[in-house]
Amino acid sequence: MSGTTTTSGRPAREGEGLSGSALRGYVFAFSAAIAYAASQVLAREGVGDFDAPLVGTTIALAFGTLGFIVIAVRNASAPVRDFRRGAFFFGLAGIFSATGVAGMFLAVEQAEVVTVAPISSTHPLFTLLFAAILLRDLERITPRIAIGGVLVVAGVVLISVS
């Protein structure tokens, strides 16, 4: 997979080159990383004021859900191929994501962040592993992507313990 997709979400094959869609994907990915980073820096301030991060995350999620209604309504006419399956898997994604957050906070309650953060930072490696096993018809995890993922995780672990 070289980074491009069709409108149906099919990842393009290696060698198809950098398309406008891939370029937008990179911009979206880095913008997401910056937005997550801003939220982490802000959350440190919030936790200083209110020492119950699980409750804080729920409040943030409630505000996020309410705020997203505007975007969802504006895009309500976007074509949906299969609502039931889409809703099932996106619903599952939300539950897994929330379970991850809860697990992280439970871990931090029992050990220091310096112990917990490097372990939880390995999630991209699990994603690549599961994608290689479960998404063989949708994705091709090349050695280059796998090595890149390992380097990113190693760097993130070092940053999180520094």
């Binding site: 980074g3 997401a32 990383a33 301030e45 809860a102």
Partner: protein, 140 residues
């Protein structure tokens, strides 16, 4: 050690979340999907808080609420939506290592806005993250 198990469980949960998103994008666009994932996550978190941490709501201040509202904007409106869009354009294999670089950007923001300082580990980690990103971005 329970803490290690919980942290490992968190990592696996987030990985399954990304895989679920990749599958879901075959059936539904990122906008509708982001909204549905926010709702399902919120329902679960409300249940957890109601069962285990309801009393902590009494300590909530207006200032903290405002900060968590801003966190909600950056994390769940911008971050999650852009993350799902990146997966729809790149696939989960290429998008995930890029969004995983979040701590690098957090370190930069903390230096700029909170006056925190960099140390050797941060610099080394930054180098590794940038090397990894280069490999992911590099065209064959």
């Amino acid at each position: 050690m329970p803490a290690v198990a919980f942290a490992l469980g968190a990592a696996v949960s987030w990985a399954f979340s990304a895989i679920s998103v990749r599958v879901a994008l075959r059936y539904m666009p990122a906008t509708t999907g982001t909204f549905l994932s926010l709702i399902s996550g919120l329902v679960l978190m409300l249940l957890v808080v109601a069962l285990f941490q309801r009393g902590r709501l009494d300590d909530l201040t207006l200032a903290a609420t405002a900060i968590f509202a801003a966190v909600g904007f950056f994390n769940f409106i911008l971050g999650r939506y852009l993350n799902f869009l990146s997966i729809s354009h790149l696939g989960v294999g290429r998008a995930t290592p890029l969004t995983a670089a979040t701590p690098l950007f957090a370190a930069v923001l903390a230096v700029v806005f909170l006056g925190e300082s960099l140390n050797a580990l941060t610099v080394l980690g930054t180098g590794l993250v940038l090397g990894g990103i280069y490999l992911v971005l590099k065209q064959p």
